[in-house]
Structures are given as C-alpha cells and as structure tokens.
Symmetry: C2
C-alpha cells in the first residue's frame, strides 16, 4: 500500500473535488490510499488558510512516517510564502518522500530540489479534476504513484541530462531567491497559461539571464493567451528561440507539459 | 534653448498625440524645442518598429550633439530588448544628456544608471497626454526640463539617500540581468498598474530577495487592480510591508508616483 498525503500550500480545493479524486483512486488503484489534510479546504483571503496553517499542514504531511508521498492539491498562488520556512522544519523522513505538483507548487519542487530533499515531481494535481478531461490528468499521477511510468514526458526516454519542469512565471520569480535550485547542466522545461505574449517575452528576457550553464530549454504549451489590442508579432516558440539565442542556450523544441489534461509527468533530476 | 529628442524604445504613439505635446510645449515653454523622431510612429507587431529600428533611433537621439535630453515617448513593453545593445553604442555626448520616462522605459533608466551614463529621470511621458488629466502630467515634465523643479516627488526634499523609481514589474524583471543597477544604499520607489494583488505579492517576493543593502522602500500607487474571483486578504501597502519585513528592508511609506496624471518626477541618484 502506498499512502499519499494531500495538502494545499497555495489555494484551497472543494470537498467535492477531493471526494471525486478519492473515489477515482479507490476504484482504479487499490494499492493507493489518499488522505486529504483538512487544511485543503481552509479559506483565508486568496489562500487555503493563513501562511501558518498552510506551513504547518505541509510540515505535518512531510514529516509523517506513515506517508510515502505528498501531493499538492492545486496551484493558484501562495507556495512561495511558505517554501523556505517549511523545508527548514522538514525532518529526516521528509527526505524519503515523493512531492508531486506543478504550477504554483513549483516553488516547493524547486526549493526541495535545491535542498536535495525528497523526490520533486512535476505532475497533475487533484485540482485538475475540474478541467475538461481532468480525470485523465489526475489518473496519470495516480498511475505513476502506483508504479506505471507511461505518463512520463516522452523526451525523458532518451534524455541524458537531468531535467526539471516549471511554469514559466514561477521559475522566473524564483530566480535569484533562496528557493532557486542550481540548474547548471539541466534541461529546463517551461509552460505558461493566461499570459499575454508580451508578458511571455518579458519573462523569457528575465529567465534566460539566469540560466547560465544549462543544457538546454524545451517549451511546453503556452495556452489561453489573452487577446491583446494588437498582435505581438511572434509566437511563443519564436519568443523562446529568440531569448535562448541571445543567451547561447540550446533550444531543444517542445515539451509535452502544460496547464491542461495532457500535462505529462517529469521527475526532477 | 533646450532641445529634446523624443524616441519610442517600446511602443508607438500617434502623430496626433505628438502634435498635441509639441503644441503644448510651444505655447507654454518657449525655451524648449521638442523633436519627435519619425520612429515614434513606426508599428511592427507590438512594437514601435523592429528592435533594430528602435535601437538605431535611440542611439541617434543619444549621440546627437544638438540635443540636451532624450524623452521616451511612452511605455508598453519592449525597451528591455534593446537597452543593453543601445547603450553599448552610446558615445561621449550621450553621457551629457538627461533621459526621461517611466514604466517600461525603466529598463533604460536602470541600464543607464548601472553604466553611469547621463542623468536618468523617472518622469511622465508624451504618451501620458491621453490619460484623464494627462496634460498636467506632460506639463510637469516640460516644466522640469525648463528648470522648474516643483514637480519633483515631495520626499526628495528631505531625503539624504540616493533614490530611484521604477514600475514594480519592470524592476522585478531587471533583477539579476545585465541591465540591473546596483541599488545598495538607495531608497527604492515602486508603483504598479493593472496587476492582481496576488501578482503584486509575487513580484514583491521576487524583488525584495534582490534588494540586499538598500536604504529602504517607498510604495507608489498600485492602481487599476483587476477584480479577482476572491479578495486577496491584504492591500498593496500591507503586501509591501510584509515582504520588506521578511528581508529586513526599511518600509518608508508612500511615494507620490504612479501610472496616472499625478505621477511626480524622480531624478535618479
């Protein structure tokens, strides 16, 4: 039996969504046990409870010897406020767990990777159950936790470098902070959602200035781009290629990740 | 006679707006001569012409011995793509000029300040003529260029530290890049427009991690905050105070700057 603790370092999910995910796991993955921490349903302003509540729940889950993995409930925003103090309270048992999520949870994945704590994994989250086709996304992470690696990002099969995957905004905001991992020699996958292309260009201006020594960059999907008052003049792949070229970073093409039901799994490292 | 070159390192303005500003200067400031570079009206996708066109126009204006100041036409996005290569082509005469603008033009002000080239000045731009009350904003910069310093940000009168002023997003994106000035010992003023409060919080998470050794931070106006699906739970001043406290940065209160007609003038240094 693999036991998985779910907590919400960013924003809350509903009890209904949690029940749907628990039911899916029970029906299809008898060797998985999902336990949603009560904090997942807390609401305080933007967040799933105060910084202290979210921090305590994350530390509880990470340090609990009866769990094998910690799954982040959903993104939204907020994990950057608690990542550093939370990991400072992680004990020895926290280092033996897998940590799964993406989007805003990337602050935690990155901070864990920096500190060499546990196994950070870019993967769909329980909150994805609300997306069109979201059941397939959630099932992909559950299957991975049950030992089925077929949901992994396809380029990983032939990649010889260590790999990380992040939301573009999340990784850009981590640059130069105390949660930014060293990424020299790595392939960096980034995806984005709901940003104007000029903002994507601006984020690449910033991010690529911080990626000295990386092995290369792959671009996931840049989806739900809002309509601007005029066309930007380049698409997301052209933007990524332009900034990679300015910083002599190898642009390696597409990555099969994104804020969508097709989002594939990328274990860090 | 003070001669002022106007170019557009980011996005274009209209000929009508340029004519309105020229007429205002002619009517009220007989000792100023405004010359709009033809590049101000170029359009290529998002930008006021290609990177090369914008870069060449900026270098033309900066190196022209007949001008005393370079005024950036408006913000929008794009100056970060040309700031570094432009300044590399600036000659001796460029170092004797004032450079005026704000918002996206902050990439240039910051890069100039980093390289100790000329006098960077946060100030309203010709494009502000379109704002409600925009004539007063444009007049403030013209009066400053004509020698009237009454439009300067009020705290400057008693401030003993060097000061800079930036759009929050712009300064956050500069952090760690080759256009970021050293700001140790400085008072940093930041303002923001049209960002969700969670995004303002995220920008402060990032920015304050890069402000080691500054003398303090002042918050300008955070305006046109979009309505989110739920309240954030803290206002912009509380957000700024929180992140300053986490990084032991002195929070010094308000600054009279913003994306509005009241935006005051802040000469860097």
């Amino acid at each position: 039996m693999t036991r998985i603790a779910v907590c919400a370092p960013s924003t809350p999910i509903t009890r209904e969504d949690a029940q749907t995910v628990v039911a899916l796991a029970a029906a299809e993955f008898p060797n998985l046990e999902l336990v949603f921490h009560e904090q997942c349903f807390a609401i305080e302003g933007h967040f799933a409870g105060s910084d202290q509540l979210r921090l305590d729940a994350l530390v509880d889950c990470a340090n609990d010897p009866t769990f094998d993995a910690v799954w982040f409930a959903r993104g939204g925003y907020g994990a950057c406020r608690i990542a550093e103090p939370a990991i400072a309270r992680f004990g020895h048992l926290a280092g033996e767990k897998a940590y799964l999520g993406y989007s805003d949870a990337g602050y935690l994945l990155g901070a864990l990777y920096r500190e060499r704590v546990g196994r950070p994994i870019h993967a769909p989250m329980p909150g994805d159950i609300r997306r069109p086709g979201g059941t397939a996304a959630v099932r992909r992470t559950l299957a991975f936790l049950a030992g089925d690696t077929s949901g992994m990002e396809p380029s990983l099969g032939v990649e010889t470098h260590p790999v990380v995957a992040f939301n573009l905004m999340t990784l850009a905001m981590m640059c130069g902070t105390r949660v930014m991992p060293g990424l020299a020699g790595h392939v960096i996958m980034v995806e984005e959602v709901s940003e104007y292309l000029y903002a994507v260009d601006r984020l690449f201006f910033h991010l690529t200035a911080h990626l000295g020594g990386v092995a290369g960059l792959r671009l996931g999907r840049v989806s739900d781009v809002p309509e601007n008052d005029r066309p930007f003049g380049a698409d997301a792949a052209e933007i990524a290629r332009y900034w990679c070229e300015r910083h002599a970073i190898a642009f390696l093409g597409e990555a099969d990740i994104g804020h969508d039901a097709e989002n594939r799994i990328v274990p860090f490292g």
